[in-house]
């Protein structure tokens, strides 16, 4: 089971992507199935530690939350940009990570970068700290606490335990 289908979810996603790209036909369904089986096998060595999805409903809730936050943050940042740039309070903020899984950290960094107003700039060698650049921040500690509570905690539940 593990050897034939190392990443069932990845296979499903690949197949769906293939079907969306090509439109539905039985030929493409079969070809897509073949690719969805072969590609995860071929890329198996790229994943030394296989990320495990432990909580699917939580993941869906997390995705909805992130989309909503992106919309809200877009509006806030639009106002910030249109005001005088001199009034911005930029900062580099360090966020101590509680996540340990590489893939979970990647997802957290992507979430931070996709939400306008914050860009994740670097992660430390020992995967213990994240460096974030913020466009406008009043209280860096409050921001760190919010990111940890809003994004990191759900990710920990989704990918770790």
């Amino acid at each position: 089971m593990i050897r034939i289908l190392p990443f069932p979810l990845l296979s499903l996603l690949l197949w769906l992507a293939w079907m969306l790209l090509n439109g539905f036909s039985w030929g493409h369904a079969l070809l897509g199935l073949l690719l969805a089986l072969l590609l995860p096998l071929a890329t198996r060595p790229f994943w030394p530690n296989v990320p495990r999805l432990r909580n699917l409903p939580r993941l869906l809730r997390f995705l909805a939350l992130v989309h909503w936050d992106i919309v809200v943050a877009n509006l806030t940042v639009a106002l910030l940009i249109l005001r005088s740039p001199r009034r911005l309070r930029p900062a580099f903020v360090e966020l101590p990570l509680a996540l340990t899984d590489d893939f979970a950290i990647t997802v957290l960094m992507s979430t931070i970068s996709l939400t306008p107003g914050t860009v994740s700039a670097d992660v430390s060698e020992d995967r213990a700290t994240l460096l974030i650049h913020v466009l406008d921040v009043d209280d860096p500690e409050a921001l760190v606490a919010e990111i940890k509570q809003r994004y990191e905690r759900p990710l920990k539940e989704i990918f770790e335990c």
């Binding site: 940042v77 903020v93 960094m109 994740s120 700039a121 670097d122």
Partner: protein, 110 residues
């Protein structure tokens, strides 16, 4: 019904265009490299998002079935955009680009 769909499509195109424009204004106006990084994140989220909603609505309406190719664009964009932002920030820190003087905290040595 036709005019309602047209209205919605137009509204989404305008919304997307407005955010892409504001993102570009940010790119032009903001004072240092790290701040300018924040401009494109807006263009690549709500800017593209608005266009995609418009495209999805228009083509689904035209074909009278749900067309979902656009979802793939969002998926690929959401995977790749943070990576390029991250690489840009790392390169900027490596070259020690100047940041605005009142920036709190400091970048890491690369």
């Amino acid at each position: 019904m036709d005019s309602l769909v047209e209205f919605l499509v137009a509204a989404f195109i305008l919304l997307g265009a407005a955010f892409a424009l504001i993102g570009s204004i940010g790119l032009a106006r903001l004072p240092d490299f790290y701040l300018r990084l924040h401009g494109p994140t807006k263009a690549s989220t709500l800017g593209v998002g608005g266009m995609i909603m418009a495209s999805l609505l228009f083509f689904s309406w035209q074909a009278q079935t749900l067309q979902l190719q656009e979802v793939l664009i969002v998926l690929f964009l959401f995977i790749t955009a943070p990576v390029s932002a991250h690489m840009l920030a790392k390169a900027a820190m490596h070259r020690g680009l100047a940041r605005r003087k009142d920036t709190k905290g400091r970048p890491w040595k690369q």
